[in-house]
Symmetry: C2
Subunit: 397 residues, 2 copies
């Protein structure tokens, strides 16, 4: 028996474990200090009441013979039509029309972003931005693919544009971006669509944070760009939109118009999912179906507004301190330049010791992350405000 | 961009769609007839009250800031310890001791049976029984692996034993088996363990139906066999055990002692899951954690007993008719020889027309399934008894 030796090429990721260890050590040495974590990429607000009610009803359905649900419906790879219809309505409001069979309900964008790679040959070349969500890189290392990086830097606002001299087959874009918070305009994204079409490549578009966008110049879906249905797969998530990180639900769009080597990728993905997946809990799907209702949207807007206000508090603080950053608007992430030319880990230690604030060192996301630092808007209002007040104290010149 | 051309080698599966179409056509042509489906592999009994209560409590937890849960715990690949502990207790009752880090909580055995293949090189040779759960074959076709078949026939009681002249690297065993209902004794399974150890192969042991076993001579876990921890991965599911087909939860055991080419497979699987998976809903996990409690086990035993009694009714009927079958005891499936040497589809049509009973043609599960027919115990008591009474009428000599 031979193992998949590509796994041996994976680097151990110590980023979040080192952040955790250093934080724990500091707290143990200083039990009197109140340490505030602005490092978390996880939500803290409870689920919307409309979602809770829908889930209780679904649990009750499972308790009675007459309303009990077994395997999800075959027709759309185990997705319930009520949920798929709500996703289509959400897209329609962005000006994007989808067919039901183009929407695949999943247990989250992370699973689909990894599993989608089953559809592609090993010999494709992958292009990922740097810094980057590590999952894009690791899943392709596991598959033994050649990986190229597109530099995201302060100079390009952490939004790399296509280089037509570079040939890539699979391109990951995440907008609004994790970790940089930067988001592509429609014009910028149109360039990527032009690149993908010219190269016969496929864009893997991670739209997990699109609900944070309020600026109409920014794209909320890659399909708002003409021609994208012929070259892009879009990954969406209820995790940050509706606080579903612990509930696990997302949806992936594979348009029928996306055809490579004469084969519709929609058909391949349907076959992959019907063979290696068995759908998402009925209870979860009913909860998710309550998100994009009038009542649900009103309620999640409150939570999103809460996080956006947190982001604004951090952004205003950095503006006041004259520190360069991306994100903060249209994104739950704030990607700041480390002051005094500190490297990422030096600034981590500085901030932990001087301000008792924890963030994530940018170098953990790739070489271009060195000298940068990620803060998130997912904390409580009180913690966020207090952390900013401490930042001002320790960083004011 | 190149697609994974192995997908083009997949055969379209028309088995269940043809069963569905023929049934629908018959019903449309004969609206007055009451057609009974003994073809379904899906459960029909509602969830146990202990599970329902636990899920309602978990939904309430998600509604309050103080008890809200985001991403599952990192420590055991997003599995909650209360659930992992309950799985360990269930194993302990079978005489198998596991460490928490050997138990991986998943969204179902089907997902894990497919995804586990990420760990193995493409050039491994796979051995699957025939007839077989089609997922074992299709997932390996997608990966471009060479597949060998082990013949399961009436002569070996549909329980193929290892042929030491055949070299295989990955061996699928499913016991109690889908579709044949046949289950290995501990002695038989010990031969497979001996084979796997001698060949340095890995057994992929699908134990989804183990809770139907009552005969102590039969293995309920591959780890009841000495030496299995060094050569086997076991896939378990709450689907049939506790009616979770629509809830989606299972668990996979990858022992630390299972090492190939110097690499512990447990470490590879943990890396795979932490990279391409984000855990199972907190609500689902809390529901599942209620299954292996004193109260939960008492309640699921009632449902299992209901299905077992259905299986017995069918088995008694076939005994009375003098028809050969496997399963029916220690299994929810009954695998019968088609009478009068009919082939599988001829018998399907015969039974539909003469008795208005629907089953699944055995030929859909592989070449050795030709001439056989699968009935399931997952219907209602009334339907099962009525179907058997009709079988007796149309098949009595």
């Amino acid at each position: 028996m031979k193992i998949n030796s590509n796994f041996l090429n994976l680097k151990d990721s110590y980023l979040f474990s080192t952040v955790g260890r250093k934080t724990a050590e500091y707290k143990e040495a200083h039990p009197d200090k109140k340490v505030i974590r602005l490092s978390i990429g996880d939500v803290t607000r409870p689920l919307a009441p409309a979602v809770i009610e829908a889930m209780h009803r679904a649990v009750d359905d499972m308790s009675r013979k007459e309303t009990f649900k077994g395997y999800g419906p075959d027709r759309y790879c185990y997705g319930y039509e009520v949920l798929i219809d709500s996703v289509k309505r959400s897209y329609a409001r962005k000006g994007v029309s989808l067919e039901s069979s183009e929407v695949f309900i999943s247990d989250g964008a992370k699973s689909d972003l990894g599993n989608i790679l089953d559809l592609f040959a090993q010999e494709n070349t992958v292009l990922v931005p740097d810094p980057v969500y590590p999952v894009y890189v690791d899943t392709n290392i596991m598959a033994g693919r050649k990986i190229l990086f597109a530099d995201a830097t302060a100079e390009n606002g952490f939004l790399p544009m296509p280089d037509f001299k570079v040939d890539a087959d699979l391109i990951y874009l995440c907008s609004p971006n994790n970790p940089t918070g930067a988001a592509y305009t429609r014009e910028q994204l149109a360039e990527w669509v032009r690149y993908a079409r010219e190269k016969n490549a496929v864009l893997l578009y991670d739209a997990a944070y699109e609900y944070f966008i309020t600026d109409p110049a920014l794209a909320r879906s890659v399909y708002q760009i003409e021609g994208a249905k012929e070259c892009a797969i879009e990954f969406c998530s209820y995790s940050k939109t509706a606080g579903f990180t612990g509930v696990r639900c997302g949806y992936t769009v594979v348009p029928h118009a996306l055809v490579r080597e004469g084969t519709p990728l929609n058909k391949l993905w349907a076959r992959r999912q019907s063979t290696k997946f068995n759908g998402v809990s009925y209870i979860t799907q009913m909860g998710a179906a309550a998100v994009f209702t009038e009542e649900g949207e009103k309620q999640i807007a409150e939570n999103l507004g809460y996080y956006r206000e947190n982001a604004k508090i951090i952004a205003d603080c950095l503006d006041e301190l004259g520190i360069f950053y991306t994100g903060g608007k249209n994104s739950p992430y704030i990607w700041m330049k480390c002051p005094y030319n500190m490297d990422s880990w030096t600034f981590f230690d500085f901030l932990l010791e001087k301000a008792n604030v924890v963030g994530t060192p940018g170098s953990g996301f790739g070489k271009n992350g060195e000298g940068f630092f990620r803060l998130t808007a997912f904390g409580t209002r009180e913690d966020t405000a207090e952390a900013c007040s401490r930042l001002k104290t320790v960083l004011k010149k």
